[in-house]
Structure formats: C-alpha cells, structure tokens
C-alpha cells in the first residue's frame, strides 16, 4: 500500500509553510492598506492621492508584496481544494503545473499594472 500510494513532493511542505507565511503577511498588509485608505484621511481614495501612492517606490514594493501574497495564497488554496477531490487525485501533476502558471500569470499581470504608474 505504501509503495502504491507514495508520491513524495517537496512542493507540499513548502506550499503549506508559504500558505501560513502569506496568510500572516496578508493580515498585516491588508490591515495597513485599509488603515491608509479608509482611516487616515477622507480623501485617500481621490484619484490624485491614489496615483501619488502608486508612484511612491515604498508603496510599489508593499503592493508588489501584497500582490505576490494574494496570488500565492488564493491559488494555493484552490490547489488544496482541487487535490482534496478524486479528480484532483487523478490529475495531481496537471493541477500543480496549472496552478503554478496561474500564480505566475496573476503576479506578472498585476506587477505590469503596478509599474505603469
């Protein structure tokens, strides 16, 4: 049974650890984001203020980190859900590859938008 079922992958523990870390990071970054956009000033969401934030290098780094965390956390969660099904069990490799591509795609696309400012 062990030989039949065994599929050791370092992706699983790394995925789990990164899911925990990105979860923590998201809690911090999203709290900061809401604090900055809703609690500090009334006009924080005015067009010129949004542009000012997005052109600031420190904000760019923060939003880049937020984007990376969200992309990984969301799609790795989706991967876990899919792998919990019989369909996922039959197509583990395809799902892993697809999810990595989707994570990279979402991150690169978001980064592209971020750096237009």
């Amino acid at each position: 049974m062990a030989e039949e079922l065994h599929t050791r992958k370092v992706l699983e523990p790394l995925g789990w650890i990164l899911q925990l870390l990105t979860g923590l990071l998201l809690a911090i970054l999203i709290t900061f984001h809401f604090f900055e956009t809703h609690l500090i000033a009334h006009d924080a969401l005015a067009f010129e203020n949004v542009i000012a934030r997005l052109t600031d290098p420190a904000h760019k780094v923060m939003y880049g980190l937020l984007l990376a965390s969200v992309s990984f956390h969301a799609f790795n969660g989706l991967r876990a859900i899919l792998l919990d099904t019989e369909f996922g069990a039959r197509n583990t490799k395809a799902i892993n590859i697809l999810i990595v591509l989707v994570i990279l795609g979402a991150f690169i696309y978001g980064l592209g938008l971020l750096f237009t400012f």
């Binding site: 062990a2 079922l5 065994h6 599929t7 050791r8 789990w16 792998l83 919990d84 099904t85 996922g88």
Partner: protein
C-alpha cells in the same frame, strides 16, 4: 418519589434505525422501553431479540474498549455501549451507520480500508536492534511516556474518520486515526522507524490533505485529539521533507 428526577424514570423511546439490505436503504421504527442506565446498544439488542432478528450491528465488549459499536446516534458518531438512552433526552433516537464507510448491512460498515490505512503507517515500534532471542529492556522516562500516552488510547472505532471532511472527498486519504497512530510512534523515544513511517505520512494521501476542521477531536469517544496529532505530525513532515530535499542538493 415525587421529587425524583424525571430523566431517571423509565419511558418508551422510539428507535429510528437506518437499514440497508444490500440493495436499498430504508428506515425502521421500534419502541424500546428504556430504563435508567440502559444503553443504546442494549436497546439494539432488545430490538433484535423482541422485534426483528435480522437487525444487524457490530458489538463486542460492551464497555467502550473494543470500538466495535461506533454508529451515528442522533447525528453524532458515538459508541452505542457508552451512550445511555435517557441521557440523550429525546423521545426519538435516530441511529445510522457511520459516514465515510461503505455500508454492508444495516449499521455494519466495511472497515477493511480503514485498517489497511492504519497498517500502512506502521503503527508499531521499529527498532534497528530487534533481537527476539535476547530481548533488552527499553528505558523510558515518565515524561517521555506522557508525551504520547493519550494517543495510545485509540480504540480504532472509526468515529474520527466518519466525520472527517477530507476523508469524505478522497477515498485514499489516510484519515485521523492512522495519522494519530503514526504520530504516537514517531514521538516514542524507543522507536527508530520515523523515516519509514514518514514515507507514508508525507505522501499525497497523508498530512497535507488535512485542513484542521478538528471534527475528529470533537467526536473522539476517548478524547484523544487526533487533530492535534495531525498538526504536530504535519510540522514533523515539513521538517523531514525539507531536510531530505536539502540533503539531495
């Protein structure tokens, strides 16, 4: 007499039992004259002896040791021998076979896969110096015993497996009982077989499928907390696999 607690007095209780005859499922109702201290298992024996000899259920020790009589009683997996009818405070008791197991007949489910998964994690001491001709005493401190003792109390009743959402969606998932057993032996200081056990625990059907719903700990009749064991085993598995990967590089 008037001051006597009403819950201690005998009364008729309806047993609504989910039946399965190999082809179709149906419900049967039986009236059981319940007395103080009477268990659900005794009620089932009463039904079998009085109304319907074909009613099938599994039972053995009648004292919460063997784990044979686990079934869903009023929507929660419990041991029928440890559940007193009047303590359920219900005039109608719903009894069903455990979820996540194939039903063979009435309340009897197929445990073959469950035990195969248990066996797959090697739930026994593995020693490099096994010598049955000249056995040696293996010394262990009380605190080392206490670290895993609770997990030795598992009676393999399958209650944890029946409520596990991961086991419900993946037939090949090891399940809480098997992984709690793996953890129990992994942290036993006399054991030297962690690597062998991790082979299975780290696999696609092992710890990574658990999402910590913790229902297994909720329903365990021995309060073993398999969910806690799995979280600790998951950490062990992560360290083990990353170390292995780094060694390969």
């Amino acid at each position: 007499m008037e001051n006597k607690d009403k819950s201690n007095m005998g009364r008729d209780v309806i047993f609504r039992i989910k039946r399965f005859d190999g082809e179709k499922s149906y419900w049967s109702d039986f009236v059981v004259p319940a007395q103080k201290g009477m268990t659900v298992l005794e009620g089932l024996y009463y039904i079998k002896g009085t109304y319907d000899g074909s009613l099938s259920f599994r039972a053995s020790c009648r004292m919460g040791i063997c784990g044979s009589c686990a079934m869903k009683i009023n929507d929660k997996p419990r041991l029928a021998c440890e559940t007193q009818i009047l303590q359920l405070n219900s005039s109608k008791i719903k009894i069903e076979p455990l979820d996540n197991f194939r039903v063979l007949k009435d309340l009897i489910t197929d445990f073959e896969g469950f035990f195969a998964k248990h066996e797959a994690v090697k739930p026994y001491l593995i020693r490099k110096d096994d010598n049955y001709a000249e056995p040696v005493e293996l010394i262990q401190k009380p605190e080392e015993l206490h670290a895993y003792y609770d997990f030795t109390l598992c009676i393999k009743c399958g209650a944890c497996f029946s409520v596990c959402p991961a086991a419900a969606t993946r037939d090949d998932y090891l399940g809480p009982a098997a992984m709690a057993a793996a953890y129990r032996f992994n942290i036993d200081t006399r054991d030297e077989g962690r690597d062998e056990r991790m082979f299975m625990v780290c696999s696609d059907v092992g710890v990574w499928r658990c999402h910590f719903a913790a229902e297994c700990s909720e329903v365990c009749p021995k309060n073993i907390e398999p969910a806690k064991a799995i979280q600790k085993l998951r950490f062990q598995a992560a360290v083990h696999m990353i170390k292995k990967a780094l060694k390969r590089w």
